[in-house]
């Protein structure tokens, strides 16, 4: 038996495999395909204070080993989540992580205050890295002072485990990571998508309604892995790593680079059962390598 438990800033997950916000709906979309109870956690679709319609279609473009999206945080608002969605998904024996967003700091605060009162929710992922909204989103995550300010504001009103989701669209991600650590984050998750663009040479038109969008998938994996490793060497708080993880080997690499847990994102679109396959693959790897506790893999990169 491999001990699969990991700790994320004081919150214990039964295993390190979670699903990434925006790629897994609210979990139930995958209930026909996998046993959701086996997941370490589900980071649900990004939430805002009020209903958001998101960006115009087209919102997606396939790229080499990846895809661009420009969904723009379409969701029915925090009250709909708390009153209608959460009661249906709280029965699952997995950690539910709301991913919170705002155009202004006050919106983030209002959403966090509401979630602070919900029984069963022990943690939130503060998203300061969405590249697809005109106001807020990534704007908070690409400068140190604003990342620190919003993290501090949420720390003041939120009692549970606070995970801050970082943008890779910065010159030095370690500066932002250190900043939010100092502002009271219990953990960081990284990376969100890379700002990208796609053009149709035939029509000379852009392929996304927003022109630019967020790149995800295996195309970004080496950069994401490098950023996890850099952040692991810069902060003391745990890291939830992600960025193009397609299989168990990718997930193990992210743990070796310093992730305490990982999120499976775009891979869920290709194989709706991939998260469980990754979990089983990590367990097999541990058995084959005589590793009794999966946490021994965290940052275990050798010279």
């Amino acid at each position: 038996m491999v001990d699969l438990r990991v700790d994320i800033g004081g919150l214990e997950l039964k295993n390190p495999v979670a699903t990434a916000s925006g790629t897994f709906g609210f979990g139930e979309e995958f209930a026909d395909f996998i046993d959701l109870n086996r997941l370490g956690g589900i980071f649900v679709k990004g939430l805002t204070m009020k209903n958001r319609e998101g960006n115009d279609y087209p919102r997606m473009a396939e790229t080499a080993s990846g895809m661009l999206n420009a969904v723009g945080l379409q969701n029915k608002g925090i009250d709909f989540f708390i009153d209608t969605i959460y009661p249906n998904i709280k029965k699952y024996n997995t950690e539910i992580f709301p991913n919170i967003n705002g155009s202004i700091v006050e919106e983030y605060i209002a959403v966090a205050e509401k979630l602070n009162e919900v029984d069963g929710i022990n943690s939130i992922e503060l998203n300061i890295s969405c590249p697809n909204v005109k106001e807020g989103g990534m704007a908070f995550g690409v400068s140190c002072p604003s990342a620190i300010a919003v993290t501090q504001a949420i720390r003041d009103v939120y009692d549970g485990t606070l995970i801050v989701k970082l943008s890779p669209n910065v010159t030095d991600i370690t500066e932002i990571a250190k900043g939010v650590e100092g502002a009271g984050a219990d953990a960081v998750s990284l990376v969100n998508t890379f700002l990208g663009m796609a053009i149709d040479a035939k029509t000379r038109k852009h392929l996304l309604s927003t022109i630019t969008g967020g790149l995800s998938g295996p195309a970004i994996k080496p950069i994401a892995l490098r950023m996890v490793w850099q952040v692991y060497n810069a902060v003391k708080i745990p890291i939830v790593g992600m960025g193009g993880i397609m299989n168990a080997t990718d997930a193990i690499e992210f743990m070796l680079a310093g992730s305490s847990a990982i999120q499976v994102g775009t891979a869920n679109f290709i194989d709706p059962q991939v998260s469980i396959k990754i979990l089983e693959g990590i367990e097999d790897y541990c058995k084959q390598n005589n590793i009794s506790a999966v946490k021994d893999l965290i940052g275990a990169l050798e010279d």
Binding site: G54, P58, R59, N268, F269
Partner: protein
């Protein structure tokens, strides 16, 4: 219940150089598939095709565990799907999306164009079972773009329009004589290019009958998780893969 299932390529039926019917066979049971449902097909051994391809189900044989798809080879994914070896494994996620609704109608009209004709074989069969008289109106640029008419003729009368007049009446589907004179259809079903569906919906609306259209938006997940395939409706953006692909056209912001 939706499932992920491995099939093997059983056969190809090439309708012309760019259009084919792909028939897959499995060892496992096939769940109930309704007219309008689609599958997300993983293109095997294609490094440059990252996402699955959403394709309407053409037909299904529950006894022999076979499923077929009518595919137009237009992009790298649909081209690669047309060049697999017999016996090669193909993984699909299905059945996805909602379906066409069959009411207590006397007579209905089905208007299809391009690859949008695929769902109308199973729909036509179901309509015939309910003794609903069906007229199929199939449009294309030339006679080389008109497919499956023999199949449709098993379930109703088939009318054809081509833009160059090489088969059936010359012109667009909306110019066909079926729309002239007394409009005696109780409902219209349509699938094909957006401008065609919009024009058809307008005619249905003008005649006070319901119109159901199946949209072909680009998708990533196919199961309502990514929200990439939305269409604007009178009630906000709706997710085509789960809230559609079939919509009552009155609901759409066309």
């Amino acid at each position: 219940m939706k499932k992920v299932q491995d099939f093997k390529v059983k056969e190809y039926d090439w309708l012309n150089a760019d259009n084919y019917i792909l028939t897959l066979i499995s060892n496992d049971e096939i769940p109930e598939i309704k007219p309008g449902n689609f599958a997300e097909i993983k293109v095997p051994n294609a490094e440059d095709v990252f996402l699955r391809r959403p394709i309407s189900v053409l037909d299904v044989d529950y006894v022999n565990k076979e499923i077929s798809f009518y595919i137009k080879a237009i992009g790298k994914g649909t081209k690669k799907l047309g060049s697999l070896n017999i016996g090669e494994t193909v993984n699909i996620v299905y059945p996805l999306g909602n379906h066409f609704n069959i009411d207590d109608d006397k007579k209905v009209l089905i208007v299809g164009g391009g690859s949008g004709i695929a769902p109308f074989v199973t729909l036509g069969r179901e309509l015939k079972k309910k003794n609903i008289e069906t007229v199929f109106l199939i449009g294309g640029r030339t006679s080389n773009d008109i497919f499956l008419t023999d199949e449709f003729s098993k379930y109703g009368k088939v009318e054809v329009t081509t833009e160059d007049g090489s088969r059936g009446e010359k012109g667009l589907v909306t110019q066909h004589t079926v729309f002239q004179g007394n409009f005696d259809f109780d409902k219209v079903y349509t699938c094909g290019p957006d401008p065609m569906m919009k024009a058809v919906a307008k005619i249905a609306d003008a005649n006070g009958v319901e119109c159901e259209a199946s949209l072909e938006n680009m998708m990533a997940c196919g199961i309502g998780a990514c929200l990439c395939c939305v269409t604007p409706t009178k009630n906000g953006n709706k997710v085509v893969c789960t809230e559609g692909p079939v919509f009552n056209t009155k609901e759409l912001s066309w």
